[in-house]
């Protein structure tokens, strides 16, 4: 064990995934700070006379950035001055919950070699099903919630499965077909909301009937009323996806497919069938996002609007990337994004002149850019090349840095 620890410590200085991810975060925070300064007219004018009074600009900038990030921290993690000091972290968790599902919905098919860009459509159709069950059926409390959850899962899985089927049967590339399905789903949603079956007769705007109270996810009693049962579902989903991917025969098939479909096929693994399975599961996970949006306590209306997807389907892609496609990594990435979101709102409110919430969006994007370009991070911080597990001395004239097999990686693999 201590030997393993030593190897892990030795690996930290090299360009492994954990180090790169942490440094990518540091870099993006720095860039976020620069943006905060640039967004402040007053500070910019102080920089204008930098050479007369350098301290003005420097201390002003420092204060600005420090205040901004402090406000974010207070908004996202812990606020010592607030009555409910732990409320911020609860907000973070609430924001992170749908991202966990969305991240998993991208990460799982990604391990199987499929790029699920159709989260939006899966979410929307999942929401349509969940909402309909939510307002049209009468059932006692726990049963009704369960039915809503199942409806959301089925709706999402149908769309995801359709993408998989189009790919497996007819060879339609999943990226193309899911982009098209996204558009179709948006159209269907806009139309459905106006139909008699869905539209709320008491409202003038485009909104569906609200789901019944028995269809709402029960709250977990904490200081935050928004913290609800969906977080428990998210934790279960992480565990389940982890188990499926690493312990089940289905996961074995999916991983084989993702790494080398030809070898998988040669070994008797049906490529088309398992592609459909992967997309079914992905759609089901996006359907759970829909449930959190409709039956979660976060949305005040508990009804469908035309913007219900809120871009979560696409944020899921970045979360999955940041989480390296591993379930626990996705959960951590979702937490980080949730914290940035929650903190961003707090920062906007707490700073004068206001630091716009967009800074957070940029920070999120920059992290992903750096994570996607590990070589760049390696150059900036002059990290060592990753040590190869074993040299393949002969063969393809190999580039030595391609095989990422470090102790830190394998440790990350283990979680």
């Amino acid at each position: 064990m201590s030997d393993r620890l030593k190897r892990i410590l030795a690996g930290i200085g090299s360009a492994n995934t954990v180090t790169v991810t942490v440094l990518a975060f540091v870099l993006s925070v720095v860039i976020g700070g620069v943006l905060m300064i640039l967004s402040d007219q007053h500070l910019l004018s102080e920089w204008g006379y930098f050479f007369q009074h350098p301290t003005d600009a420097l201390s002003g900038s420092w204060d600005k950035v420090a205040n901004g990030y402090t406000a974010m921290f207070h908004g996202a993690v812990y606020d010592p001055h607030a009555k409910q000091a732990l409320r911020p972290i609860e907000n973070t968790i609430v924001d992170a919950t749908p991202l966990v599902f969305a991240g998993l919905a991208v990460a799982l098919p990604f391990r199987a070699g499929l790029f699920n860009i159709g989260g939006q459509s899966q979410l929307i159709i999942g929401a349509v099903c969940a909402t309909w069950v939510g307002f049209s059926i009468s059932a006692p409390m726990p049963l009704h919630v369960l039915l809503v959850i199942i409806a959301g899962i089925i709706g999402g899985a149908l769309v995801g499965g359709l993408t998989g089927l189009l790919k497996a049967r007819f060879g339609a590339h999943e990226v193309i077909s899911s982009i098209m399905l996204n558009n179709i789903a948006l159209g269907v949603l806009a139309w459905l909301i106006k139909t008699k079956a869905f539209h709320d007769p008491n409202r003038q705007d485009a909104i569906s009937k609200p789901v019944k109270d028995t269809a709402l996810l029960p709250a977990i009693h904490g200081s935050s009323p928004e913290l609800n049962f969906s977080t428990v579902l998210a934790i279960l989903a992480v565990l389940l996806v982890w188990w499926v991917m690493s312990r089940s025969t289905l996961g074995f098939r999916l991983r084989a497919l993702g790494s080398n479909p030809d070898a998988a096929r040669t070994a008797g693994i049906s490529v088309s069938r398992n592609q459909v399975y992967a997309m079914l599961l992905a759609g089901a996970l996006m359907g759970l996002v829909a449930v959190t949006q409709i039956s979660g306590t976060l949305s005040a209306s508990h009804a469908m609007t035309t913007t219900l997807d809120n871009g979560i389907g696409f944020t899921g892609i970045t979360v999955a990337l940041l989480g390296r496609g591993k379930p626990v990594g996705v959960a951590l990435a979702a937490l980080l994004f949730g914290a940035l979101d929650a903190g961003g709102v707090a920062m906007e409110a707490a700073t004068t002149p206001t630091v716009p919430h967009d800074v957070v969006t940029v920070v999120q994007a920059v992290i992903v850019v750096f994570v996607a370009a590990p070589k760049l991070v390696q150059e900036i911080f002059r990290l060592r090349d990753v040590r190869r597990g074993e040299a393949s001395g002969s063969g393809t004239g190999a580039a030595p840095s391609v095989a990422p097999a470090t102790a830190v990686d394998s440790a990350a693999e283990a979680v």
């Binding site: 089940s248 025969t249 074995f252 040669t266």
Partner: protein, 574 residues
């Protein structure tokens, strides 16, 4: 040009791929670099060509120390390299490929490409060194041997004085290899030196002026081309190696796999396997010989359920055509795919996981839902030891192994199933002599255990060493099924689709061998060849198989051996 490598050392992690290697290439010599796979030959040459930088050591050209940081530096210093996988643009013409990166244009950087000059240059170089290439031909239309020639011309056009050929014969027919040797001798006569990387002992002895043997990253000695293959092999592997596959003659059993009128189309929709029929008996090794791309790949894919086909292929009475790969595997197929990287291994998976890739959902490795990770790990560790797979542990990703060890994983996977039919394509591709001996032994063990074995290989030596009968494929047809003691010349002619006359001329030298069946196997094989001499289907099967050995052998000597074997097997076995 005199090229010296002094004390070249290169380590990857804790593994020394090259340690303190000294090598001198004199002008006008053909210098063979002989070594097992993973011995460090390619690493050394990649250093010389500027693709890798050495940790220490010097490259000295004509007494002057040079440092190569890119292939461009090496090319400027007069070093040319022909890679195992050609670096040509398939949709470009030969001339366009040859000027690529060195284009001459009229009217500045955005000007016209001077195609006329390019063509003239190509013609000039190819005439000077006796390397005929058509500058206007599209590279994708050229046979592999000619593509290789284009690569050589490319190096020469960049004024290479030292030419590195990385396993150049791996993709060639015996005839093409002979042509390549002629070219190499021509280059040598023109004062150029050639570094010839290989692990084929016969070739080394045929062409080399000097031989340097590398084992585990160090030079273990040099040898003269007069050394025997056995001496070279033991130098290369570090122990005594038996080069001949030892096998007892065996009497084949019942028909295990019966293939009739099999037709398979390739990815482009062309008929790749054209009406092939043959029988494979239990306890028999049938070798399929042929130049790469004559339908062997598609034949195997059809038999393993990977490719749609028409006709029939019955394994112990059960139809394989139209079955899924999984269904075929369930019938007990053990399959070593032709290309281990492409179809054999999942590179991100550990060795243990790769070993159960085709039976992870069967006891004891897993059930309907869950995997038994302990059983998979234990199986991995056992196979690691049994097949001498050199890796840190069974958890090492297969992608990190050297080619030879990867091949051992694939072979181990096929054999551990205790297969009812073993189909092995290129079972020892890229594998060193030591591992080859081991794999061959295991294949023969399968035969001796009464299993039917189908071997597909482009290595004639391998085919003749393992097979009880040899089927030669040319343009999708089996152009002949011959006994294993058929000479390489004759097999080569068959593989090149040689006409009956040519082949018969070559066959005459072997007529004696065919006429003296030494075992039941040979008699059987001869019997099958004999059959087409008579009108195909009317021949009573018993009559041909029950003829005395002498009779059938005589008939075999008479018979035109070129006749399509599909008819022969039909008449002989139905």
């Amino acid at each position: 040009m005199r090229l010296e490598l002094r004390g070249i050392t290169k380590t990857f992690g804790s593994v020394a791929a090259n340690s303190a290697i000294d090598l001198t290439v004199e002008p006008g010599e053909i210098h063979c670099l002989l070594g097992e796979n993973g011995a460090g030959k390619s690493t050394l040459m990649n250093i010389l060509y500027g693709l890798l930088t050495p940790d220490s050591g010097q490259i000295v050209v004509d007494g002057e120390t040079r440092e190569f940081t890119s292939p461009g530096d090496a090319i400027k210093a007069g070093i040319g390299m022909v890679h195992q996988h050609f670096m040509l643009v398939p949709v470009f013409t030969v001339a366009e490929n040859l000027v690529l990166g060195n284009e001459e244009s009229r009217g500045g950087p955005l000007g016209w490409l001077d195609r006329r000059k390019a063509k003239a240059d190509v013609k000039e170089v190819s005439a000077r060194y006796g390397l005929p290439v058509d500058p206007e031909a599209l590279v994708e239309d050229l046979p592999v041997g000619v593509q290789q020639r284009v690569e050589i011309v490319k190096a020469l056009m960049r004024d290479a004085e030292v030419l590195i050929l990385d396993e150049p014969t791996a993709v060639l027919t015996p005839q093409e290899t002979e042509e390549l040797f002629t070219v190499m001798r021509g280059l040598k006569a023109a004062g150029k030196s050639v570094v010839f990387i290989t692990h084929k002992l016969n070739e080394v002895r045929a062409i080399a002026d000097r031989i340097t043997v590398i084992r585990r990253g160090t030079v273990v000695g040099s040898a003269e081309p007069t050394a025997s293959a056995r001496e070279l092999a033991s130098l290369m592997v570090g122990r005594d190696v038996r080069l001949v596959v030892e096998k007892e003659p065996r009497e084949p059993g019942e028909v295990a796999l019966s293939v009739r009128d099999l037709k398979v189309t390739d990815d482009r929709g062309f008929l790749a396997v054209d009406d092939v029929s043959f029988d494979l008996h239990a306890g028999e090794v049938l070798g399929v010989a042929g130049v790469q791309g004559n339908g062997q790949t598609e034949l195997v894919e059809a038999l393993t359920g990977l490719r749609a086909a028409t006709g029939s292929a019955e394994l112990f009475g059960r139809q394989l055509v139209g079955a899924s790969p999984r269904a075929v595997l369930r019938q007990g197929l053990g399959h070593v795919p032709e290309d281990r990287q492409h179809d054999g291994l999942v590179p991100d998976f550990s060795i243990a996981e790769n070993l159960v890739l085709d039976q992870f959902d069967k006891k004891p490795f897993g059930g309907l839902l869950t995997l038994d990770l302990d059983a998979i790990a234990k199986n991995g560790a056992d196979r690691l030891a049994e097949f001498d797979i050199r890796a840190e542990s069974e958890r090492t990703p297969a992608g990190a192994l050297s080619g030879g060890n990867q091949q051992k994983v694939v072979v181990a996977r096929a054999l551990q199933r205790d297969p009812s039919l073993l189909i092995a394509s290129q079972p020892t591709r890229g594998v060193d002599v030591g591992a080859m001996e081991f794999i061959h032994k295991r294949i023969i063990e399968q035969r001796d255990a009464g299993k039917p074995v189908l071997i597909v290989s482009t290595e004639l030596d391998e085919i003749t060493a393992l097979s009880d009968r040899i089927a030669v494929m040319y343009r999708g047809k089996i152009v002949g099924i011959v006994p294993p003691d058929t000479s390489n010349e004759e097999l080569g002619l068959l593989m090149a689709g040689g006409s009956g006359d040519e082949a018969e001329a070559a066959a005459e030298t072997d007529a004696e061998a065919v006429a003296e069946p030494t075992s039941e196997t040979d008699a059987e094989a001869a019997g099958e060849i004999e059959a087409p001499a008579e009108p195909a289907a009317e021949t009573p099967a018993e009559a041909s198989t029950e003829k005395s050995a002498e009779e059938s052998a005589e008939a075999a000597a008479r018979a035109p051996e070129r006749e399509p074997a599909d008819q022969s097997s039909e008449s002989a076995d139905e």
